[in-house]
């Protein structure tokens, strides 16, 4: 049966990040799903070629608003490798502490967003309140809540003072308690269980085949973590476990993220206890010798890759960024097939997409050859109403 495809008109980058899903349905069930991306081309990679390495750090920090530190970590460690210099241990430890704090706030933010998508807004408000603790710590350490500007080529720019360490350690205790509470809550609360268990299943073999990364692949029982497999910064010294879950559904992704937060709290406390006493940074020369490097780091959303090619000047010849969300789109298409329309928002949200919200969704009814367009809010409301009716 032929289906009608409608090109979606102008989008609204000012409101939510632009992306387009075309979803073919039969009654309530999704038959096929297609993701269209590329509406938000910002030309960052080209702009990197026109700026010096120092200026590129601040440009790449603004690729993403949540994992800003991940991008600078990946870029700076790539450039350090090209320069063939060893960064002082204390610098690497502080870099890793900020990395883990960023993971905490990113996962906590996601937990709130997931709560919002399934109509459990109480969870959103409580998680975001607890997230403020980490945001305050980041501001205390770096001087800014979002774009920390901590990384520089050759180390970090600010030291963690002695007075701050007890506050941070106590804060991590509080945060770990909250994470343990949320893990208990999510495994008991019927709203969460009903909307997440058995939804958006990505079997282990498919997760491997589709090249999923980050918590998405770890929730499919694949023990894959860039911090363990290819340790960068101070990850080769810090003890931690890779968290996996074997139910392969959205609930597994909730559980993996909460378990990772508990691990991160432990890691931060360990690093604060074992902070080396040398320098925080090296002063390196501005001209980078000719060469190319592939730098990898496990961002909160998954494996982040930067490719840097230098040509002997103070500007890179090519910078390529592969964000984890891009690697997860094929998995989303797979997960959407066969689910209910009501589950579309939470399945898309379950990979923690950097293009955070569905700009618009087109529905194509296969039987009636009818097409209509919903925005993400309408779709979310539909999902909540659908499950309310189903329950009674």
């Amino acid at each position: 049966m032929s289906t009608v495809k409608v090109p979606i008109g102008p989008q609204h980058p000012a409101l939510k990040e632009p992306i387009n899903f075309t979803i073919e349905i039969e009654g309530e069930q999704v038959v096929d799903a297609k993701v269209r991306i590329g509406y938000n081309h910002r030309g960052i990679e080209k702009a990197c070629e026109l700026r010096t390495y120092v200026r590129d750090i601040y440009l790449l920090e603004r690729v993403c608003g949540i994992c800003s530190h991940s991008h600078t970590t990946t870029f700076t460690q790539g450039v350090e490798e090209l320069l063939d210099e060893d960064v002082p241990r204390r610098g690497l430890y502080i870099r890793t502490i900020v990395c883990e704090l960023e993971r905490l706030h990113s996962h906590m933010l996601w937990l709130g967003v997931a709560g919002h998508e399934i109509g459990f807004d109480t969870l959103l408000h409580y998680t975001w309140r607890d997230r403020e603790l980490v945001m305050d710590f980041l501001e205390m350490i770096s001087g800014n809540r979002v774009n920390y500007a901590m990384n520089t080529i050759g180390g970090v720019r600010r030291d963690i003072s002695k007075d701050l360490i007890p506050t941070l350690k106590k804060g991590m205790d509080t945060f770990r308690e909250r994470c343990e509470y949320y893990l208990k809550l999510c495994s008991e609360e019927p709203t969460v269980l009903e909307r997440t268990q058995g939804v958006g299943v990505l079997p282990t073999h498919m997760a491997r085949k589709l090249g999923a990364v980050g918590p998405t692949v770890r929730a499919s029982a694949v023990d894959m973590d860039c911090r363990k497999d290819d340790p960068c910064a101070a990850y080769d010294e810090v003890p931690f476990e890779v968290c996996t879950w074997d139910s392969c559904d959205v609930f597994a992704r909730v559980a993996v993220r909460i378990l990772e937060m508990i691990q991160s709290c432990n890691m931060i406390q360990w690093m604060l206890d074992h902070l080396p006493k040398d320098e925080i940074r090296l002063k390196l020369k501005r001209r980078v010798p000719e060469g190319e490097v592939l730098s990898r780091y496990e961002a909160p959303r998954g494996e982040l890759i930067h490719y840097i090619k230098s040509n002997g000047t103070d500007k890179p010849e090519r910078v390529k960024v592969r964000t984890p969300t891009l690697a997860n789109w094929p998995s989303v298409e797979y997960m959407l097939k066969g689910c209910y329309i009501a589950d579309v928002p939470i399945i898309v949200a379950s990979i923690d997409p950097c293009i955070s919200c569905t700009d618009r969704v087109t529905f194509v009814d296969v039987e009636k050859e009818k097409t209509w367009v919903w925005d993400s809010n309408q779709l979310r409301r539909y999902g909540i109403e659908f499950y309310k009716k189903k329950r009674w």
Partner: protein, 129 residues
Amino acid sequence: MPRPAAMEPELLRNFPRKPFTVFYPFERLPPFEGLRGRHILYLKRCVGCGTCAKDCPSAAIEMIDWPDEFPQELKNKAGKVPKVDLGRCLFCEQCVESCPRDALEMTQEYELATFDRKAMEWIVDMETE
């Protein structure tokens, strides 16, 4: 095991508490030490080399000729002074780090919203000491 109203004890515990939100314009939290706010320039130390302008990621700093209203006795050899466009500034503190003479510093002043676009084109606050 599903347990209905699993969050109820937490909600009851928080019920008598004050709201967590700070009602900003009426109630202000003190900024943390090390917050990156508006710039300040120590005129005596500035040599007008323009390194800050070269390193600024958003090209917010422009080196201009020594303005007439600035004390002429402090004029450096280059006769230049940085002008910071706060509308473009990212507040990354790279200029402070790049300055060879520590002439630039960042204050904790963060309330910089204005209705006038021109008001954002500061020739930075000067400090003659």
